[in-house]
């Protein structure tokens, strides 16, 4: 039977197999595993059955500890049960994992492997979490790609039933869990053929039931606990063979053959890398490339890591091997080496002792770390690892992918090393978080995947703020399966969705020579060139880029789509790239629009369709002049008078150059200076509030409700007005306590998000002659760009005015609280967030003496996510001290 090709990500792939082969699913959200639970829940809500025709129950628990407890109970009671988690969540499951394994209860936990909170929290991928669970007695099976995730989710399900050993099936968080790929979808028939119903029946027969009562989980004494612990050995000894047979069975049914250890590369390789996870795909591609150029290198992809089978491992290791590099995506401070490395050394040592090694000289074996917290792992780094093996004394315990100038563990990487991309089209989109880029690009790869025989891959890089974020989409298409789990650095097509990005990021450095650049700009084809910074013009000329513009923002507003320019850019992309004939693409985009926005009603669909039609004729090609003409340069990322740490570290992170900041620049204990959001002028507001003093009641409501601390009030001595900018507004203060003083409401124009909450809340309404409100208020929204400079100066002056003396007012009133300086400002929360105003109020009332222990959640992310953080200090240096606290 021919199987359907579908475009899905790793989470979708795992959920597909897991929902179909289980009866009970207990879940708890944690990034990046949550989508597996969400998909399972949605399937169940829709009544989708598993392969036995029943609809699995999906239950959210109060924590992962609860989820694991529920899994244990459900398994003991005989149901096929699964769960999904990662990182801290997996850590909370550990106690129950020991029990589940100890009781030989078959289950598969699907894990998006993620970093652990150590010096800092990271939602990104590495193997720290799963490696922490090595001792629980769970089997460990690792997938490297989206297709493998779907396949291994099924293979492990059958293997656990056959072996009674529970499994962790893991794959790289984000890089695999969130990478979209065109894959072959397993059918229910495949699954029925794979899962042995007899084993399911045996599992049920072992269930706890009052109909056949037994005692499980007794307490044992020194006389017997140890012996009991050894009873499971035969099961672990049998498991590798069972997994091997299951993989063979899978190959028989589906066609894809996997092994416990897959060797790729030269049969007579002398240098071999051993690793697992998505990085192995990169290494695979690099090995093929290097060998084609005459090298003799090889790679072992570890699939079944636990139980570890030395016999199977030795069977694939070429007998010519002289040097081995073992790569671990985790860190174990203080250990002799990371886990995989230690295992390989033990395996080789024991094999030699037993005489089953294919060589008689102990090879050189070194271990190293890569890819922690989703650090990029590229072909150049793979090459660096092989090159290290060539050294007279190869580095041990090395790192690759960073610059470690403290203990000098890092390998030098030749950044120019690239694998050519013939027959592959690479596109990058620099979008604004809320403009719908990601959704549109997902649709694009589906369209290309479905309308052509191209394979497609999409990966999205988000910055961690919630409002006004930049999202970079990386899309690849080609006739061959795309085996590149790393970002694009040479793109055929680069799109910039917001002209302001050009001043902040060097995005053209990732455009290839002769590539195409599509810019969203308010300026037409005749004017746009001169608006580009010099640096951009230079690169465009040097790289001979083709240049297109589209005024997507105005077009979207014209149609009524607001800031959602996604479909417009998408259409422009199809028009320019010509991957699919334009007329076909237009039909497909409209199809996708119907699917995506169907729920929102006909009007939304019509508007988006109109956007498609108009976009086709609004893309203009611009001839790139031969000379740089621009008078503007990219401004410095932070002002020259910013503190040293902000200039040398924070600014680098803000400009997306954090990857090259060396180890020595970072605090050793994860403690960073406060008050850094003030250096990041994000300018994300289209409109900002402007104050109209004579309508103002001076109540302070605007300041209280502002989620971003970007509208502030002060009562002050009129003398302070000396030297005020001409446009600075003030009015006589109301209230007897402020008699003779002046009052001002001032907006921070570059930090305001334009959410409009202050204007909406303002009670100072203008009334017309008929006493009816005119709609104008004491603050009103106006376009930010034309008044940015003016208000920037006003705000700077406002900050220089001394704060209102605390003896003049009561802090426990609305206005009083707002006369105090907020010590939480310009956070990256969503525009209009309802949480932040409370946090701000807390810092106004008690900030100078506050300790804040912040449970993980939005408040810890907008509160403490790099590059810049919003908690700040008063003039005397006092302010809230903050720490994230685990649940």
């Amino acid at each position: 039977m021919k199987r359907k090709m579908v475009t899905t990500d790793g989470n979708g792939a795992a959920a597909h197999s897991a929902h179909a082969t289980n009866e009970v699913i207990a879940i708890y959200p944690i990034t990046p595993s949550s989508p597996m639970g969400e998909i399972a829940d949605a399937k169940t809500a829709k009544g989708e059955p598993n392969i036995w025709g029943t609809v699995p129950s999906v239950t959210e628990m109060q924590s992962e500890a609860g989820a694991a407890g529920a899994v244990h109970g459900a398994l003991a009671a005989g149901a096929l049960t699964t769960t999904f988690t990662a990182s801290q969540g997996l850590l909370l499951m550990i106690p129950n994992m020991y029990k589940i394994a100890g009781e030989l209860l078959p289950t598969v936990f699907h894990i998006t492997a993620r970093s652990l909170a150590c010096h800092a929290l990271s939602i990104f991928g590495d193997h720290s979490d799963v490696m922490t669970c090595r001792e629980t007695g769970f089997g460990m099976l690792c997938s490297c790609s989206v297709q493998e995730v779907m396949d291994f989710a099924l293979i492990s399900q059958q293997a656990t039933l056959a072996s009674r050993v529970p499994f962790m099936h893991f794959f790289d968080g984000f890089r695999t869990s969130h990478e979209e790929q065109k894959v072959e979808e397993l059918t229910f028939d495949d699954m029925r053929a794979m899962i042995d119903d007899e084993l399911v029946a045996q599992h049920r027969a072992r269930a706890l039931t009052p109909d056949r009562p037994v005692m499980g989980g007794t307490a044992q004494n020194p006389d017997v606990y140890f012996q009991g612990r050894e009873t499971c050995n035969p099961f672990y000894l049998a498991t590798p063979k069972i997994v091997e047979e299951t993989m063979d069975k899978f190959a028989g049914i589906v066609g894809r053959q996997y092994k416990l250890f897959d060797y790729v590369g030269a049969p007579d390789a002398e240098k071999v890398i051993i690793m697992m996870g998505s990085g192995a795909e990169t290494a695979h591609e690099t090995v093929d490339y290097l060998n084609a150029k005459g090298a003799k290198v090889g790679l072992i992809k570890v699939r079944l890591y636990r139980p570890f089978s030395t016999k199977h491992f030795m069977a694939v290791l070429p007998k010519t091997v002289k040097k081995i590099a073992v790569l671990d995506r985790t860190k174990e401070p203080g250990a002799l080496g990371e886990p995989l490395y230690l295992d390989i050394r033990t395996a080789v040592g024991e094999a030699m002792a037993d005489g089953i090694a294919p060589f008689d000289k102990y090879p050189v074996i070194v271990g190293g770390r890569y890819g922690l917290g989703s650090k990029e792992f590229t072909p150049a780094m793979v090459k660096a690892v092989y090159d290290n093996l060539d050294a007279a004394k190869p580095k041990r315990g090395f790192t690759v992918g960073i610059v470690d100038d403290v203990t000098n563990t890092s390998l030098n990487v030749d950044d120019l090393f690239q694998i050519p991309s013939e027959g592959m089209y690479r596109a990058m989109f620099y979008g604004l978080g809320s403009d719908g880029t990601v959704g549109a690009n997902r649709n694009s790869i589906k369209i290309i995947g479905e309308l052509t025989d191209n394979y497609a891959q999409a990966y999205f890089v988000y910055d961690s703020r919630k409002a006004g974020t930049i999202t970079v989409s990386h899309l690849r298409f080609g006739k061959k399966q795309i085996q590149r789990p790393y970002l694009i650095n040479q793109a055929d097509f680069v799109a910039c969705h917001n002209p302001s990005f050009l001043e902040k990021y060097d995005m053209l450095s990732s455009a290839r020579k002769g590539g195409t650049f599509l810019l969203t700009s308010f300026h037409g084809a005749d004017k746009v060139w001169d608006t580009l910074p010099q640096e951009v013009q230079k690169q465009m000329i040097a790289k001979k880029l083709k240049f297109y513009v589209i005024d997507a923002i105005s077009l979207a507003q014209e149609i009524g789509l607001g800031g959602r320019i996604n479909v417009i850019i998408q259409t422009a992309f199809f028009k320019i790239s010509n991957i699919v004939p334009l007329d076909k693409a237009v039909v497909a985009i409209k199809d996708a629009i119907r699917k995506t926005y169907g729920k929102r009603g006909e009007k939304v669909i019509e508007m988006n369709n109109a956007a498609v039609d108009k976009a086709v004729s609004r893309v203009y090609e611009v001839k790139v002049p031969a000379k740089v003409t621009s008078k503007t340069k990219m401004p410095p990322v932070v002002p020259a008078d910013a503190p040293e740490f902000v200039r040398t570290v924070t600014a680098e992170l803000m400009a997306m150059r954090g990857d090259s900041v060396p180890v020595s620049k970072f605090p050793v204990d994860g403690r960073f200076p406060v008050g850094t959001t003030q250096y990041e002028k994000r300018n994300i507001a289209v409109n900002i509030p402007v104050w109209q003093p004579e309508l103002c009641l001076q109540c302070g409501m605007c300041s209280l409700v502002c989620p971003h601390a970007t509208i502030r009030i002060k009562d002050y001595d009129p003398k302070s007005l000396q030297g005020a900018p001409e446009a600075f507004k003030s009015i006589d203060a109301k209230g007897k306590e402020f008699k003779g003083m002046k009052f001002t409401v001032q907006v921070a124009p570059e930090d305001c998000t334009g959410c409009g909450a202050c204007v909406q809340t303002c009670p100072g309404a203008e009334r017309g002659p008929d006493k009816q409100p005119t709609g104008r208020k004491a603050i009103n929204l106006e376009m930010q760009e034309p008044i940015r400079e003016r208000e920037r100066k006003n705000y700077a002056f406002f900050l220089s005015i001394p704060n209102t003396d605390a003896v003049l007012f009561k802090a426990n009133t609305v206005k009083g609280s707002q006369l105090i300086q907020p010590l939480f400002e310009y956070s990256g929360a969503c525009a209009g967030c309802g949480e932040t105003a409370y946090v701000k109020l807390l810092t106004q009332l008690f900030g100078d003496r506050a300790y804040i222990g912040n449970a993980t959640g939005c408040s810890s992310i907008y509160g403490g996510n790099l590059p810049t953080t919003p908690y700040t200090t008063r003039k005397d240096g006092r302010g809230p001290t903050w720490c994230n606290s685990l649940f």
Binding site: I27, P29, I30, T31, S34, G37, E38, D41, A42, T44, A45, K46, V58, E60, Q62, S63, K599, M701, L704, V705, C755, G756, A757, V759, Q760, T761, A806, V807, A811, N812, T813, V814, S817, C830, A831, G832, C833, G834, E835, A837, Y838, V839, L841, L842, L845, F846, R849, A850, Y851, I852, G853, N854, A855, T856, G857, C858, S859, S860, S885, F887
Partner: protein, 315 residues
Amino acid sequence: MGMRLTVDQFRQTALFLLDKVVETGCVDKALAAEIRAATLADDPEQVAIEAQRGRIEQLKKQCGKQGDCADCKQLLTVADYLVRKSVWAVGGDGWAYDIGYGGLDHVLASGKKVNVLVLDTEVYSNTGGQMSKSTPRAAVAKFAAAGKQAPKKDLGLLAMVYGSIYVAKVAMGANASQAVKAFAEAEAYTGPSLIIAYSHCINHGFNLTTGYEEQKKAVASGHWPLYRFDPRLKEQGKNPLQLDSKPPTIEFSEYAYNEDRYKSLKQSKPEVAAELMKLANRDAVERYVLMEQLAGLKCGQCQPGAAEPSPETKE
């Protein structure tokens, strides 16, 4: 919690050393007495705090002069703890109602001066909007694609039954002064405090420009009764619970159907939605009425402590 324990410990250490440095003659007796008195008074007013900071500056100067007095050196490391500190635990409803509830309950029951701020978005916002026990009945959330069946947990009520915890439910958009007052009272209270703050969120599915209007409606529907439960009032023979919002003037559904989290179920499963909304309407009214009844109890007449279990208080 650990922070509070440390701060209290350092404060004790500093007071102990304060006596010693007076004995050694390094520090002026009158100054030390003033500092001690202010430390024990622990006045939460800003003016008092700044005054104490001024005294500590003097203390540090006097200690700093004595080159090799070991006690002075010790005192310098902890002197700042003689100034009032404010310890806060901040988190969302996923933390407070679900995964962190056990720990939260323990901290609140401990009697220690820890303030808790719950930013209640009624979902796990950070992970993309999954259901928590704070999610109201009839709302759609991730992991509750078919609409939440069970009603919202009443965290405030659970905390109130200890009797010794300051508890407030606030919604800045509905009553700003009540919110500000609650923060100030919570922090000034000598025992633990809990503030539950209505927080609109993009996961609710409406334009956040009108977020504070939604807060008004949440309160007007009875869904989010505003109150302050101040154990100190008991000493004055009063009911510690003050209800700060009026009886419902709109149906819960009138508030809820402004938001996609409720609307979407109406679109996808109208019958289920109608059934759940009926229950949710009732939940809101019942919640308000319960608070109203509790706030109406005449507390002065019962024996102090007889109505509630009396957990240990700090004093």
